[in-house]
Amino acid sequence: MSFSKTIMLRNYDGETFVVDEVVAVEPQTIEHMIEDGCANTSIPLPNITSKILSKVIEHCKKHVETPNSNEKDAKADLKSFDFDFVKADQGTLFDLILAVNYLNIKGLLDLIYQTIADMIKGKTPEEEEEMRRVNAWVFSCFVGVTCLYFKSKKI
């Protein structure tokens, strides 16, 4: 029977999250706070909302609970968890970045940075310009044809 120590995290909305110490020390910021003895009552995280903090805790828990082995199943499971984790809307993704940047969780940071880089790689400025140009051409074609018609009818 082991008694694992728990840490209280108090966030921006005043909500408290109680997590096991093994999960709480995943973010390096919190690990340093615990080492420096600032975690006696609860750790304040004033710039993180409940929604984001619960997502971060979920990710840390999953990575702590998965055994660090070379088992292909465990690795594949973790990979699909990470893949689903970053399928959020852009607003959530960027709020996550700010929170994880503050908390300093290396693995999660790398995951989110890579996701955003992949999103940017998908949209080059040329492709967007191309889309705009094609739409503009279609519009001017219709106007041109209509003007010609009216001219021929002398209206």
Partner: protein
């Protein structure tokens, strides 16, 4: 006919009205867009991120995409100058020559480097398979001098098939280097070289150095964990005593023909090498151009740590090579992964199974470029019988492994007895 014209006229009026409504809507939308940021524009989110976040994201894009962000807006003009990871490879040079018709690629890279403000942690220059560029090797000297002032930690210089480049002395003053990979260079440290105190991995391909120099370098890199002497410029250029100076080595890769030994190489050479490296976990040996002989004095060395062994370009029809494989499997008890990649000479030798069957701890075995010979079947048979913990066997045939022969081979292998109840055999 008149009815049709009237019909077309009506449609055009309808279209015009819709188009005018659309432009009216877009005109009003454009007006409001300038007043407040649209929640659909991704750039607005990224622009408000702290600098270190933006730099981390740009680092993960190809260099040309990252530099292109300078045209997005005034605030983005110089965000790319904080890039800390730069990679110039075949794709980069190809795009430069194709789109810009740029001949002076060296000038482009030099101009780009001058703009970089912060620390450069990673720099990759890969000219492998790059053709038709205006290449001047003095550029490389200038770049290395620049990088030595920028706390470079990860450096890759692949000169490809161009004339080998002599590494400038500035390279040896990059004391923060953790990873160094060189290809087709001359690596001659000056007498004042104090070593790379933080170096963790060193990879040298087609690199020339003077006799005894590698040992000196390795002594001065105390933290070295990975050493890859993939193929040196000339055979018999490295002594065993030089390699074993890196006591902390965990991964080692070398060609046996590069070893300069007094006697002909045998399996005891391999045991000696592993014996002097107590922390070694992964070993990769290339048997190309190697003349093996019968195992010499069989000294027992503690080899508890070796977990992964790769034997490449090994000729299983050669008696000495085959017996070397069996000895190695028997004498590395903690080996978990074995990868064998074979080549084929047309020698007719009678396949013989060893007399002793010792239990191994193997979990995964991979065979590459198999031909379907009896020798190969015997080896697989031996492994299946001696490995009660085996989980997976992967068999990949060579190009000459015709489909009919492959089927016959697969049938033979699948009938073999397996000591492990969970072993899976996968033909790819």
């Amino acid at each position: 006919m008149i009815l049709f014209r009237q019909f077309m006229f009506k449609i055009n009026i309808g279209l015009l009205v819709r188009i005018m409504k659309l432009t009216h809507r877009t005109r009003t939308r454009t007006r409001t867009r300038t007043r407040k940021a649209s929640k659909f524009a991704p750039q607005d989110f990224i622009s408000s991120m702290p600098d270190n976040v933006v730099t981390n994201i740009l680092d993960r894009l190809p260099v040309r995409h990252a530099v292109r962000t300078s045209i997005l807006s005034r605030s983005w003009r110089f965000k790319w100058t904080m890039l800390s990871q730069l990679e110039f490879d075949r794709v980069f040079f190809g795009c430069l020559m194709q789109h810009k018709g740029e001949n002076d690629c060296g000038g482009v890279i030099s101009r780009l480097l001058l703009h970089i403000e912060g620390v450069i942690e990673k720099f990759v220059l890969s000219m492998f398979d790059v053709k038709h560029i205006n290449y001047r090797y003095e550029n490389i000297n200038h770049w290395i001098l620049f990088l030595s002032t920028k706390s470079i930690k990860d450096l890759t210089l692949d000169i490809g098939n161009w004339t080998p480049v002599k590494m400038p002395t500035h390279l040896f003053s990059c004391v923060e280097l953790k990873h160094l990979k060189l290809r087709n260079c001359c690596f001659n440290p000056p007498p004042t070289f104090h070593g790379f105190p933080n170096l963790l991995s060193l990879e040298l391909y087609m690199v020339r150095f003077k006799s005894g120099e590698l040992g000196e370098i390795l002594t001065r890199c105390p933290l070295l964990e990975t050493l890859d002497l993939g193929s040196l410029f000339s055979t018999r250029s490295v002594k065993l005593v030089e390699i074993v100076k890196s006591e902390n080595l965990k991964k080692l890769s070398l060609r046996l023909c590069d070893l300069d030994t007094e006697t002909i190489i045998s399996s005891s050479t391999i045991f000696e090498l592993v014996g002097f490296l107590p922390k070694l976990e992964e070993l990769s040996l290339d048997f190309a151009k190697c003349q093996l002989t019968e195992g010499g004095a069989k000294k027992k060395f503690p080899t508890a740590s070796l977990k992964t062994l790769t034997l490449s370009r090994i000729d299983l029809s050669n008696v000495h090579m085959r017996s070397c494989v069996f000895e190695v499997i028997r004498n590395f008890p903690n080996l978990q992964t074995l990868i064998i990649s074979s080549i084929h000479r047309k020698t007719d030798s009678v396949p013989i199974l060893p007399e002793e069957y010792n239990t191994t701890g193997l979990r995964r075995v991979v065979f590459e470029c198999l031909e379907g010979s009896e020798n190969e079947v015997y080896l697989i048979k031996y492994l299946l019988v001696c490995s009660p913990f085996l989980e997976k066997v992967v068999i990949r045939g060579g190009e000459w492994f015709m489909s009919r022969k492959r089927l016959k081979f697969a049938r033979k292998v699948l009938k073999l007895h397996r000591a492990s109840t969970v072993a899976e055999i996968d033909f790819k």
